[in-house]
């Protein structure tokens, strides 16, 4: 938003073809015609020019994306790339779909627009993802059939799983085996559930026991380290956390950004703009505005009282107990939507705080062990100094007669002194 890169979660349709119990979106039958998409893209590109942002990622979601025809995406893709190129902007695309509506007709656009890569969703066990007619088993069967068909054509699939009570009951080992061994999914991420949107019994039973959930994530970390780490298996968010603790510069999920309001917005099929997909479909009081009704997106974002609340959230939370946390730098109070849907306010920390802290602590230990192993490997070479050195390089180097390079201090096992952390 203010930096070099901007993201939008774009919902060209608010329609969905399934009926999952814990969906946080309040669906409508609205879809976005191409001429309206053109207006959206022009206003987003205008905003990027005004903000001097060069790159955009569009995360295509719904509703359910595959309730739209592939031909719509073919025309949308051509239109977006042409408009972006004319303004010297770069646009990347990412697709999240439930795969229930998948057919081979999608292959061409998935290859061209999405780099032959698709994000989908499945839980284990599947208790809450359902068709309008039929239960979770019918859903799982159809999903698996379509996933297999897509993979047979060479499409890469990554999966988002939402933990449920059954997940905790089966445990991390079985959960991991289901995805990696049985489904051959080598890239999956586990999300925590939250009761967004209209209430129902499943949402009222949330949150899961946070202690149990923490245990599950810790166990999953250990299973992945033993069986998948270095073997081409990615388990989010654990893999990025390990990277963070080993060397920094990891790509942590949006729930742990310093302020998601500076990173992205969501736009739905009606043109409403809000913080993310849950907000834009279920909480009109938190809309930033409507892109079809505003003169320009930049002013809307600058002036929106709702967005001001999101921007203010970390500055308020930091004055509570987040400041004392050892993991402030990688969490910043957690996710606004999880906080709001459990607490009714933005201005508290994420209700999964205990889980996050337990997981951070465990992964920190795991990362230390990995780093130690690397340090003991003579063939491993420490990377150069981190960006920590850049300010010194520019100013103190000129002032101080002793510019000591961090690279001169080589890695060691055991110490927790920061010189080692920088190098690892």
């Amino acid at each position: 938003m203010r930096g070099n890169h901007f993201s939008i979660i774009l919902l060209p349709t608010n329609k969905c073809n399934v009926n999952c119990d814990y969906c946080f979106e309040d669906k409508t039958r609205d879809s976005m015609p191409l001429d309206r998409l053109s207006i959206v893209i022009d206003k987003v590109l205008d905003h990027m020019e005004r903000s001097r942002v060069g790159a955009l990622t569009i995360y295509w979601q719904g509703g359910e994306i595959m309730t739209m025809p592939p031909s719509w995406f073919e025309r949308a893709y051509e239109m977006i790339q042409t408009a972006a190129a004319a303004r010297n902007k770069h646009v990347a695309h990412s697709l999240q779909t439930n795969m229930i509506g998948y057919s081979s007709k999608w292959n061409k656009i998935i290859a061209e627009m999405f780099g032959n890569s698709v994000g989908t969703s499945m839980d284990y066990p599947n208790l809450h993802r359902k068709m309008f007619r039929g239960g979770p088993d019918d859903y799982t069967r159809l999903w698996y059939q379509n996933v297999q068909a897509a993979r047979a054509t060479g499409i890469d699939l990554s999966v988002i799983a939402v933990a449920n009570q059954g997940t905790l009951a089966v445990g991390a080992e079985r959960f991991y085996s289901y995805f990696v061994d049985e489904l051959s999914i080598h890239d999956f991420q586990v999300n925590t559930p939250f009761p967004g949107g209209e209430g129902n019994d499943v949402k009222r039973s949330m949150p899961l026991d946070v202690q149990d959930l923490a245990r599950f994530f810790i166990d999953l970390t250990d299973v992945w380290i033993e069986r998948g780490y270095g073997q081409g298996v990615r388990v989010g968010p654990v893999d990025e956390l390990v990277q963070q603790f080993i060397g920094g510069n990891a790509c942590l999920p949006c729930i742990w950004q310093k302020n998601c309001a500076d990173q992205f917005i969501a736009i739905d099929a009606r043109g409403f703009v809000a913080q993310c997909d849950c907000w834009v479909t279920s909480y009109p009081e938190y809309f930033f505005g409507n892109i079809f009704e505003c003169d320009n997106l930049t002013d809307m974002l600058k002036q929106s009282p709702a967005r001001q609340q999101f921007l203010a959230r970390p500055t308020v939370n930091i004055q509570q107990d987040c400041l004392e946390c050892d993991y402030l730098s990688i969490c910043h109070g957690g996710c606004p939507v999880r906080t709001y849907t459990f607490s009714g306010t933005l201005f508290e920390k994420d209700p999964y705080c205990h889980l996050y802290k337990s997981l951070f602590r465990h992964v920190e230990d795991v990362a230390a062990t990995i780093a130690q192993g690397r340090a003991l490997d003579p063939s491993w070479k420490a990377p150069g100094a981190s960006c920590a050195a850049t300010f010194r390089g520019a100013s103190e180097a000129a002032l101080s007669p002793v510019l000591v390079q961090l690279e001169n201090v080589s890695a060691s096992a055991g110490s927790r002194l920061r010189e080692l952390r920088v190098l690892q």
């Binding site: 730098s329 050195a389 103190e396």
Partner: protein, 274 residues
């Protein structure tokens, strides 16, 4: 011969365009306006003196130019969130007064990945306790990946066994850096206000240090003189250094701990470190 650097109000840039300069302003828009007309050859960094300015225009201005955000009061720390996007295109340091509440400000600053410089005077007993917490944060907390000055340079100095003068680390040595007041007067840094007139800026520190080393003074027998050089004896020469010495001791112990661990590690690998 050291090439002098000048800390100037940004509006005076035309007078110092050929010098090494640190430019300062309370306004991001003034910085952009003054520095955009013509490039500055030797811009060391930009000093932003207020946490209440509209910072967006600085994000994409002068990419890679270092920025120093100067806090007037550590209690302003929550505002740092609004400045974190500067890091996308600039190295950024936050200068934080070593005053009650500074631990919170440092904690957030390093958590947002800013470097930190403590603006330190003559800390009293309670402030020393808070600074000890800051030092612990810098030395031992795994998520701190940025330098906290003056601790960082002092740590490296002890580690390498090479003295590193605090006057330089803190950018207060008038032989190296001059402060140009808003009225255009060429003088010493604000911390040293009153120590010298313009005429003797280059030599005043040496004279001041000679006086401190008078027989039986605290400085004469101080084990940290090579690093401190009497930095903490200004402005009040009677200031007792027990507290700041305890901080030096902790930093030295940390450096020794690292050296020891590296030695044992190399020994365990059966080799010597290059």
């Amino acid at each position: 011969m050291v090439d002098l650097a000048y800390n100037i109000p940004v509006r005076m840039i035309d007078e110092y365009r050929d010098s090494r300069v640190i430019v300062r302003s309370h306004s991001a828009s003034e910085i952009v306006a003054c520095l955009t007309k013509e490039p500055v050859k030797q811009l060391m960094y930009v000093q932003l003196l207020s946490l209440d300015c509209e910072v967006d225009q600085l994000i994409h201005w002068g990419e890679s130019a270092p920025i120093d955000i100067v806090m007037q009061d550590p209690a302003e720390f929550p505002k740092l969130y609004r400045y974190s996007d500067l890091l996308e295109n600039h190295p950024v340091r936050v200068s934080i007064p070593a005053a009650p509440g500074c631990y919170k400000a440092v904690k957030l600053a390093v958590s947002l990945n800013f470097g930190v410089k403590l603006l330190i005077g003559q800390p009293d007993h309670s402030l020393i306790a808070e600074l000890a917490r800051v030092l612990d944060l810098y030395l031992y907390r795994p998520n701190v990946a940025q330098p906290v000055e003056y601790f960082h340079s002092t740590f490296l100095s002890f580690y390498q066994g090479v003295p590193n003068a605090l006057w330089l680390v803190q950018e207060d040595d008038p032989a190296v850096i001059r402060y140009i007041t808003d009225d255009g007067e060429d003088t010493v840094s604000p911390r040293l206000e009153g120590i010298a007139s313009r005429a003797d800026c280059g030599s005043v520190l040496a004279g001041y240090q000679r006086a401190l080393l008078a027989k039986e003074s605290e400085c004469e027998s101080c084990e940290f003189w090579d690093n401190c050089g009497g930095y903490f004896k200004w402005p009040e020469k009677q200031y007792r250094c027990d507290g700041v010495k305890s901080l030096f001791r902790s930093i030295k112990a940390g450096a020794a701990e690292l050296q020891s661990q590296l030695k044992s590690f190399e020994k365990s690998r059966g080799g010597t470190r290059q």
